[in-house]
């Protein structure tokens, strides 16, 4: 649907190469009241995640006898997008809350906490494309910050197609004007993809290329998550590619 050129002489509008991530900053333990938390910037995305639990689930009839219930909420601040959006949840919010939950669940030992809930609340303060991936990346760090044991960290990154090229980590305009968006979440140690959606059109070959590129992005982000958890803070400078 695009008319505007998104890649000019091999360079994307924000100056990146096809296989380059946006600058990323991750910080754990940013909220005093939450059991765990993380703040993430990826390009102009600003996301804060708070984790509560394992804790007693209310109302009790929703509790499960043999495992914890993982609850996720993806929520956008009214000022996070242009024009301002209503604070009431949209259908998109509902779907994203669900796919984020599905992306995180394989990493957790829910069976260890019968009758409990683990609550992951994602607040999008500013949205700039690929927010569901960034939310999963941040939530993963917040879960570790909460002291909740995990099988592996879940790292997430999108790939996509713009101006007929497969590229990494779509920003807002690339998502809206581009030809395909492929958000992926991955547990690198376990080799499992836990989020996989696609919008737009890709040939099977392009899909293969885009999936591999997204996984490279996930691996890179995985390293940043681990650094952030070691030092409580990590910032990846500009101009670093995924390879």
């Amino acid at each position: 649907m695009s008319k505007k050129k998104l890649i000019v002489k091999g360079v994307r509008l924000d100056g990146r190469k096809w296989n380059e991530l946006r600058p990323i900053k991750i910080e754990g333990g940013v909220l005093p009241n939450a059991d765990g938390s993380a703040y993430l910037e990826q390009g102009r995305n600003r996301i804060i995640v708070g984790v509560f639990g394992p804790r007693e689930l209310h109302p009790k009839h929703l509790a499960k006898p043999h495992k914890a219930v993982l609850r996720c909420r993806y929520h956008m601040a009214p000022f996070s997008v242009d024009p301002r959006r209503s604070p009431a949840p949209s259908r998109r919010d509902t779907e994203l809350s669900m796919v984020i939950r599905n992306a995180l669940e394989p990493a957790l030992f829910l069976e260890r906490y019968p009758r409990a809930s683990i609550d992951v609340f994602v607040e999008i303060l500013q949205a700039d494309g690929s927010t569901r991936c960034a939310s999963i990346t941040a939530a993963s760090v917040a879960l570790v910050d909460a002291g909740i044991p995990m099988r592996d960290l879940v790292a997430a990154c999108s790939a996509g197609k713009i101006d007929s090229e497969v590229v990494l980590d779509l920003n807002d305009i690339e998502d809206k004007e581009g030809e395909a968006d492929l958000p992926v979440a991955y547990m690198p140690k376990l080799g499992k993809v836990t989020l996989l959606q696609m919008d737009g059109m890709l040939s099977p070959e392009e899909f293969d290329k885009a999936l591999n590129l997204a996984l490279e992005g996930c691996n890179k982000i995985y390293e940043l998550q681990r650094e952030a958890l070691k030092s409580r803070y990590v910032k990846q400078g500009e101009g670093r590619s995924a390879e």
Binding site: R91, R92, V193, L202, P204, L215
Partner: protein, 257 residues
């Protein structure tokens, strides 16, 4: 128990209901079943039964796409479809269902939205696809995507003309032009086995549900993974290939109905 029964069958390369892993249940497609809707269709996938209705009206375009028609897909799980469904506003599952069907149609560019603009910035066609689940027996996405498409195929678009900035109805209509026929194929994973067209029981024990929507030219035009388990790269590739293989069979059925 249910789990064991299903697993035992799968271990022998079979399904509980006797099907092979790559077999769909019987598919019945009826188009144009309602007179009052501009388009309609009913689809049976085994005992799963879905109706899709298309209503076409005139309304304002979205601000950022002033010369494009508006498409809205909505799904309702009626309480007659299962003893566990309750009446009420759409929940997470029905919202996801509608959005996956919507994405397939939109990404394949099956409808030329610019063609269905009447007065740029002022009046465009508004196309509602409403999906009504009448009986739930598994694999609602494939059934619903198929019903939506069949309903679009049967759709007659009432004609309007722009006269002095106003929209006037003409007493005429013409078939909706469809440029593609995107087919959704859902693959389930149980104990590491991949299957197509899962039943309700299979869905209950399934760790992953992965829907691949394939267009006429064999391109992928939507993906949706769901469920609490992950997929390996190998499994993803297999599932994609299954979809690429199955989609033309189903499209053929659709075209012959």
């Amino acid at each position: 128990m249910k789990r064991k029964r299903i697993s035992t069958a799968l271990a022998q390369g079979k399904r509980e209901d006797g099907r092979g892993l790559m077999d769909f249940r019987k598919i019945v497609i009826k188009k144009g079943i309602l007179e009052k809707a501009e388009g309609s269709a009913e689809v049976w996938l085994g005992d799963t039964r879905v109706i899709a209705g298309v209503k076409v009206g005139v309304g304002e375009p979205y601000q950022d796409t002033p010369n494009q028609a508006v498409l809205t897909v909505n799904a309702e799980f009626t309480p007659i479809a299962s003893p566990t469904f309750e009446p009420g506003p759409p929940d997470e599952t029905s919202i996801e269902l509608a959005r996956v069907v919507d994405r397939g149609i939109r990404s394949s560019e099956a409808i030329d939205f610019e063609k269905y603009c009447i007065i740029p910035g002022k009046a465009v066609y508004v196309i509602f696809i409403d999906i009504c689940i009448l009986n739930y027996a598994g694999n609602l996405i494939d059934a619903s995507a198929l019903a939506a498409l069949a309903a679009l195929q049967s759709t007659k678009v009432p004609k309007y003309v722009a006269e002095g900035g106003e929209v006037k109805p003409l007493d005429a209509s013409e078939p909706l032009e469809l440029r593609d026929l995107p087919i959704a194929v859902t693959v389930g994973k149980i104990d590491g086995s991949l299957i197509v067209d899962p039943t309700a029981d299979e869905e209950d024990v399934m760790g992953t549900r992965f829907t691949v929507t394939v267009n006429q030219e064999g391109n992928i035009c939507a993906l949706q993974k769901s469920g609490p388990e992950g997929l390996t790269l190998e499994e993803i590739r297999k599932a994609i290939n299954i979809a690429l293989e199955k989609a033309p069979e189903i499209r053929k059925l659709l075209m012959e109905s």
